[in-house]
Symmetry: C2
Subunit: 461 residues, 2 copies
């Protein structure tokens, strides 16, 4: 019977004392004079299994030469373990080396720095840490799909290529089929983009929100989940040029309803991951962020705080802290402020009712004429995790706002027209998927939660 290691752990009673076949890789290999131990893992779960052989194995000497990293097909008996540290093991009957491993294999079983492993992006998922991180990433993605499926949302694929650079995200990559060493030119020497495949200058998008609104007006509840791009030259721990976003958009939903959804989603994802990734989270708790599991449990058991931007500034001004950036009404809040606020409440905090001048054109202006119905969710340890708003549903008001903010009306004609054809109050938010994974694992560098990260100057794989 051929099994995944994960199945083996699940079906232990069924296979005990039987011969099974496993295929996977050697994580470690300890040899003694008359006995040897192979730590064996096939990647289907975090845990490895110990394979034990001894002089009773006909080719004992050959087996002792099996290298770390090599791929094996193993036949053996599942049996209770005589040693410490595990309840059962595989008593080896026979082994076939399917793929040898050369001596320069960089993933030897010792502690590597994350900086070193980042340079080995194609191999690092074979380490305990990155096996955990990237499985959590996978399970969290499924948690998100599962939440929206249970709540009757339609999964909507927004276009990546776009003709508009005015979607509010700024800093967009240009995309072209033209030969850049031989560009077709207009008479005035500018590039003749009418010769490009879409007959105009095009970009890859930074958001699916605007298109998502069109589909929310048809399906009531939709979400996107796909890659987005920012061309900014920032080399920080939290910026990448390519990352994944989840952007739900809900018709007939106000800001209060939106916060309920955000809170429910975050708790759902945390619970889903905790139920399925116990070993992975324990590893992160031990080696990445001590107290991680307590932090996540605390979120599950809390009611998120909801305060206005003004209340947040009040709180910051009262605080006995020497700020690098002085908190001010009407202005954005800095990282140090986010940190103070979430630590003050010791749970996720929604900050609502933001000054309109620092927010996007599509947000609904409140009756005071000064603030918008926007909300940021700040979480302890990670800062902003989600950002959303009720959208302006009034045609005249959004047109006026776009004029004030110099957003070209023509390109977004279809978007504003949504307000004329049965437009209704509606809201949406964006959740940066990598931010979420950093929060769930305690990893503090975005480069370590993306399989092959793209940051300025870095495109090695």
């Amino acid at each position: 019977m051929k099994l995944d290691v994960k199945e083996l752990f699940l079906k232990l009673d069924e296979v005990m004392n039987k011969e099974i076949i496993l295929e996977g890789w050697v994580k470690n290999h300890r040899k003694q004079k008359t006995i040897g131990f192979i730590e064996f893992n096939d990647g289907t779960c975090q845990k490895s299994i110990q394979i034990v052989y001894d002089e009773a194995n006909a080719n004992f000497e050959d087996i002792t030469k099996i290298k770390i990293g090599s791929a094996l097909r193993v036949k053996g008996i599942v049996r209770t373990s005589a040693g410490n540290g595990q309840d059962f093991e595989i008593g080896l009957n026979s082994v076939e080396v399917l793929g040898d491993c050369t001596d320069d294999f960089p993933m030897q079983p010792k502690r590597h720095t994350r900086e070193f492993l980042r340079e080995q992006a194609y191999l690092r998922p074979r380490t305990n840490l990155f096996r955990a991180v990237f499985r959590i990433r996978s399970v969290a993605a499924l948690a998100i799909h599962s939440y929206f499926e249970e709540n009757n949302y339609v999964y909507f694929n927004s276009p990546i290529i776009t003709g508009d650079d005015c979607e509010g995200s700024g800093q967009m990559f240009k995309i072209t089929t033209l030969d850049m060493n031989n560009l077709p030119l207009n008479e005035d020497k500018t590039v003749d983009f009418s010769k490009d495949i879409f007959n105009e200058l095009t970009y890859v998008t930074g958001t699916g929100q605007l298109h998502g609104e069109a589909f929310a007006m048809a399906f009531k509840k939709i979400y996107t989940f796909g890659p987005t791009f920012r061309s900014e030259h920032s080399n920080t721990k939290t910026h990448a040029n390519e990352f994944w976003m989840i952007e739900p958009e809900i018709a007939f939903c106000d800001l209060e309803g939106l916060m309920n959804i955000e809170e429910e989603l975050l708790k759902y994802v945390i619970k889903y991951v905790m139920d399925r990734c116990k070993d992975e989270l324990e590893l992160c708790d031990k080696f990445v962020e001590n107290g991680l599991i307590d932090k996540l449990n605390n979120v599950l058991n809390s009611s998120f705080v909801r305060i206005t931007h003004k209340e947040a500034i009040d709180l910051l001004k009262k605080a006995d802290v020497k700020w690098e950036f002085e908190p001010a009404y009407g202005e954005d809040i800095a990282k140090e402020h986010e940190k103070y606020i979430t630590e003050y409440y010791n749970c996720p905090v929604f900050i609502t009712t933001w000054p309109k001048d620092i927010k996007a054109f599509y947000m609904k202006v409140n009756e005071d004429g000064e603030t918008v119905a926007a909300v940021d969710l700040e979480v302890p340890g990670s800062g902003e995790l989600m950002g959303g708003s009720q959208r302006e549903e009034d045609y005249d008001k959004i047109i006026q706002r776009m004029k004030e903010m110099n957003i070209p009306l023509d390109d977004l004609d279809w978007y504003t027209k949504l307000r004329l054809y049965g437009g209704c109050y509606h809201s949406g938010f964006g959740l940066g998927f990598e931010r979420l994974i950093m929060y769930l694992t305690g990893i503090d560098n975005i480069r370590d939660v993306i399989p092959f990260p793209r940051t300025p100057g870095k495109i090695d794989y």
Copy 2:
């Protein structure tokens, strides 16, 4: 009690004879002298619900003026229906117009051509047909995630931006942050891409396979599901410049095992969608492809045929058909051939063992030295749905093959090295998501299964 229309249908017994609140849109509105009927839909399911009002409603005259397309909040009693065509209806107590609809609303309740609707991409999901198609698209995506989750795969996000143009897909878009009207130049007047954000010429990818192989060597079973791009100038019914792909990659899996997975996946997705999209599929069966549901049931109940490329050519040569393209050993098979083969067997057909010269460099060369362990899955009515292969796992052989095919070795150094570090027999395939949706809905134009399609010259939204 506020409900989605879908919940209303599910909880009918519970809410019968009670007052409920619905929010959604007017699909149709028929008025008679003393009574009126609003066909009401909120997008959460295919079916609409009938709302009935009469002169007992205080503002009867106002209600008769409610326009098609407008957004309403409706209060009314769920009751058994006196009329024909439905079992129950809502007896209106009160209605609030949340969003009016101007008279130029293009989605009036009459038959529109799909060509016309394509020009109204932001509104077409409000029609019965596109509501069905895009819900099927959403449910099929979840089916795919669900299949792989149940089978213990890791969902892997391959990078979109890449520095290599040699991944075997060809025809890649270039992506840049440079000012194209003012490009930095080298001394020889070529573009100085070292000034671009990644310090080299970069592309958006046409496949995640190569990166997927690296992760399969860590997790055994992985799949990608994300957007891919081809810059080709083809204006056909089956080509788009932006589309979504699913690319599973499985370690310790040979070609036979791969076909088993492909067959199991396709049946799983069909069953998942049939279980959840009965109304949507019935609509497609009626208006798009007569016999659609029978076709899908037939797939569920069939064992897919497995033949070699040579056997396929034998069959075609024996056929009493005047071909446009004469079938030939060693050459690709044309659309007309695919059609004949799938109709001959009347079920999906795997064609294996392809001539190596027409296939990609990473495919495992068979012992004959002439063919590769590749497999295409052809389905009746749609042709090729999946394409896969066992990968060459031998380092020397893949290097030799890359040299023969002029694939630059340096860029893919990490990829070939996977063969040195515990490489093993492994296989994978690609499934074009839009092809799948076309197959599931009977829609014959890829532009009608993508929310906002990107094809040459078309980027209106």
